[in-house]
Amino acid sequence: MHFDHFRAMTTEILFAAEGRLEHVRLGFREARAVIRDGERRFTRFSPDSELMQLNRVAGQWWPVSSEMFDVLTKAKSYVAPTRGLFNPAVLPALVASGYDRSIELLPKNGAGPASASQPISPPDFAELETDPDGQRVRLPRGMQIDLGGIAKGWLATRAAECLATYAESCAVSAGGDITVVGLPKDAQGWSVGVEDPRQPDQDIATLIVRSGSVATSSVAKRSWRQRGELRHHIIDPRTGQPAQSPWLSVTVVAPSASEAEAFAKACLIGGPQLAPQLAENRPGMAYLAIDRAGHLQGSLQSQELSHVAGMEI
């Protein structure tokens, strides 16, 4: 097994691949280029990124790259099945809650003051218009989007597809958004540790992933204090505020990492009332939620878990 790792998108990127080393190295190089290109394209922290250019022309039809068009089309397709709980148009609400700069630059204790006195309810992202023939899109006037999570998932899947052309089997993790292709030699699946959101240095469960993708949304990550109040980056589109969920994190297994990412976020926001309904009708999807007491619940089958909190399954 060969590995490559580096930092991008303010998170850790890890490639794992089996195959001839000289081929795998070429794959690593190309997959790195996919990630780097995506990082420049989808960041909201650079005014020159394609995303921020698009945000500036809300209300107008605007030609976009094939990568941007694909991410936006996929994002729009997840809005209805998540009942609007997945909504990339939360950027103004995210900024108002203090997440106005890269997380590495955000002071843990004392983010900037709220830029709006009232919570900002995001517009319906499904109102985004797309023109596949002209590869153009139109954001409704006033809509500002953040593609942070879904772009990360989309890039993990894209990089894994790229790496797979050079490897016998491979896995790509972009900050925990993971796509696997093929099975490791002599193994029944890829082993994916699920971080305990209460103790991030420990795993609370281990998944066996045979194909597809995994992603986790967590309120324990990317958090800060604003006027003494603990804030995090998972915005509930119904309130425009950081979500109040009984769960700390939700991990979703799905065919692609962008889908897993969108549904992990929606399930986390929806909590135990909505998550089962959101996930049950999606082919190939299962979820695992962890609450504040460390209890696990979800729809993952026992054959998809190798252990839970040190307990044999």
């Binding site: 790792h5 082993s191 995994v214």
Partner: protein, 90 residues
């Protein structure tokens, strides 16, 4: 005194010459080093063994590549392996 000096010089020259010739004979009869090239092209350089780079000690120092044996995950009952990947949100 002069005679003493001459004897000393002769003795040092003899010992040096003897040591040199002894070493020559010793090396001439030593086993030859194993050939690194069994092919017909004697100018070709034998391939060096490839060593896998060491795993990084700190993931934050700029990344890198490394190789290691495939993790052993043949059994769902096994708890002795480390997960290849981790997920926990980002």
């Amino acid at each position: 005194m002069k005679r003493m000096k001459s004897v000393l010089r002769l003795w040092m020259a003899s010992v040096s010459l003897g040591g040199f010739l002894g070493g020559w004979v010793l090396l001439a009869h030593a086993p030859k080093p194993a050939s690194t090239n069994s092919g017909s092209n004697s100018s070709a350089v034998a391939p060096m063994p490839t060593l896998a780079p060491l795993p990084p000690m700190n993931a934050d120092i700029g990344g890198g590549q490394f190789s290691q044996p495939a993790p052993s995950i043949p059994s769902f009952q096994s708890r002795s392996f480390l997960p290849v990947m981790r997920t926990g949100g980002s």
